[in-house]
Amino acid sequence: MTALRCAALVVLALAGCKQEERAMRLDPPIAEAMDAVALMPDGIGGRPPEVHVAMGNPYRGNAYQISQGKRLYEWFNCRGCHADGGGGSGPALMDGWWRYGPDLVSIYVSIRDGRPNGMPPFRDRLTPEQIWQLTGYIQMMGAYSASAAAPGRNDRMFSRPSENRAPAAAPAPGQP
């Protein structure tokens, strides 16, 4: 009986071995297919590539991919215009207002092809996979809602709530 219990415990402990999957690098054909977004004629909204759907939208729920997006945000100086998400010479990314829509495809295309009035295209500087990682991170930052997957911790001072945190509950009427 004791042996059985021990075995059960060991089996339970094995569950701890499961780690979130880290896809370090996509297979080249998949990476290429990731760029095939179907875009509406006005450049706003569209359909993500089929392979993206087939992979189960990995860029929004996977902590590794979101972390990579956050690093790319630093590396490619998105901060230079959008600051910490609060906006500067570029629009804010976390006020819930999206000039070109809140969906992944619009954000993806904004980064890839640029937008009028200053947003440069990053087509030649980032791979489609990297643009997707960045897209996932930016959408998460702007969603301002609780999430189980979180990117890495900030290296500098926090100027806003963590990306995966829900807004503070509104105080009840009559409360200070």
Binding site: M24, R71, W75, F76, R125
Partner: protein, 331 residues
């Protein structure tokens, strides 16, 4: 296993350990006065501890062998003497060793008027090396490889850009921490020309183990030649392929972090690449500087050194060829 064979095996294993006593990264193979003092201190401590251990074992063995209980009064007197002796010996030994440590490291902080000053800044996970000079056009930056003249004191001024690192070249000096916001310094002299390897000695993140540096000690004339070569601007491309490589370096993301003096690339976040190919290693001791290694590193830095701050930049095969051809020529 027969006892004889076991003993022989143990002896063989011990002999293998001796291989750690020399080499380009060993504190047991000191190459300057500072390291030699530390080496002597190590042997003094080891010798003292070994002697005490042997004495204690000897006394213990004697006590076990004799098995005689003296009368109570005599036993009490003897134990008082033994405890008193042990306390006195402890105080004496600790005082002596403390004094020896003080003497050994006292001279390390002494200033030298003619010392060559080199600034080293730790980054995750590489070393930025600056050779400052009163004339600004005579100071220059390099990375991961420090050249020093033999026989002249060298003062390394240490700083850190992100987290705490520690500068440690075992053959030349002890460890010294590099702390963000605090300036430390280390002075040593090297007497033998040679190449000595150093390593970050304070855990600083994922790639701490891959944060190595080289100290190249050379005769003063060779050092001056190297310095003059480093001061020069980057080698201009000599082939059309290399020229295309330089163009790519300027228009792609490379120039945002790296500097190549004489081109439009003037970033300051990554290592200075002006004379990249004059160094022996790439990525803080990970890869040799060859064209193949350079191409592999640029094609996928995150697989070679996961977590480092160099992103993968999208380049076609031809672009990669051109860029590596250009970089490997930056002597």
């Amino acid at each position: 296993m027969k006892p004889g064979r076991a003993a022989r095996l143990c002896f063989l294993l011990l002999c293998l350990c001796c291989a750690g006593c020399t080499g380009w990264q060993s504190a047991m193979d000191p190459q300057g006065p500072a390291a030699r003092r530390l080496d002597q201190l190590f042997w003094l401590f080891t010798g003292t501890a070994a002697l005490i251990w042997l004495l204690v074992m000897l006394v213990l063995a004697l006590a076990l062998l004799r098995r005689r209980m003296p009368p109570e009064a005599v036993a009490e007197h003897r134990s008082t003497v033994a405890v008193g002796g042990a306390v006195a010996a402890t105080v004496l030994i600790i005082t002596g060793l403390t004094f020896a440590s003080y003497l050994a490291t006292r001279q390390d902080s002494a200033g030298h008027a003619d010392a060559l000053v080199i600034r080293v800044r730790g980054f995750q996970w590489w070393w930025e090396v600056t050779y400052p000079d009163a004339a600004p056009d005579h100071s220059f930056l390099t990375a991961n490889e420090i050249h020093i003249p033999v026989g002249r004191p060298v003062r390394i001024e240490l700083a850190a850009a992100d987290v705490i690192h520690s500068f440690w070249v075992p053959n030349l000096a002890g460890k010294q921490d590099m702390i963000p916001g605090r300036d430390n310094a280390l002075t040593f002299t090297v007497q033998q020309p040679g190449i000595y390897r150093g390593q970050c000695a304070e855990f600083c993140g994922l790639q701490h183990a891959h944060m190595a540096l080289l100290v190249v000690a050379e005769p003063p004339e060779a050092f001056e030649r190297w310095r003059a070569a480093q001061l020069a601007e980057a080698q201009a491309p000599r082939t059309p392929e290399a020229a295309e490589g330089q163009r790519l370096l300027e228009i792609k993301a490379c120039g945002a972090c790296h500097t190549v003096r004489g081109t439009a690339a003037a970033g300051t976040l990554g290592p200075d690449l002006t004379h990249l190919a004059s160094r022996q290693y790439l990525a803080a001791g990970m890869l040799p500087v060859t064209r193949g290694a350079l191409a592999a590193w640029i094609a996928d830095p995150q697989t070679i050194k996961p977590g480092n701050n160099m992103p993968m930049v999208s380049l076609s095969a031809d672009e990669l060829q051109a860029l590596s051809a250009y970089l490997v020529d930056l002597k």
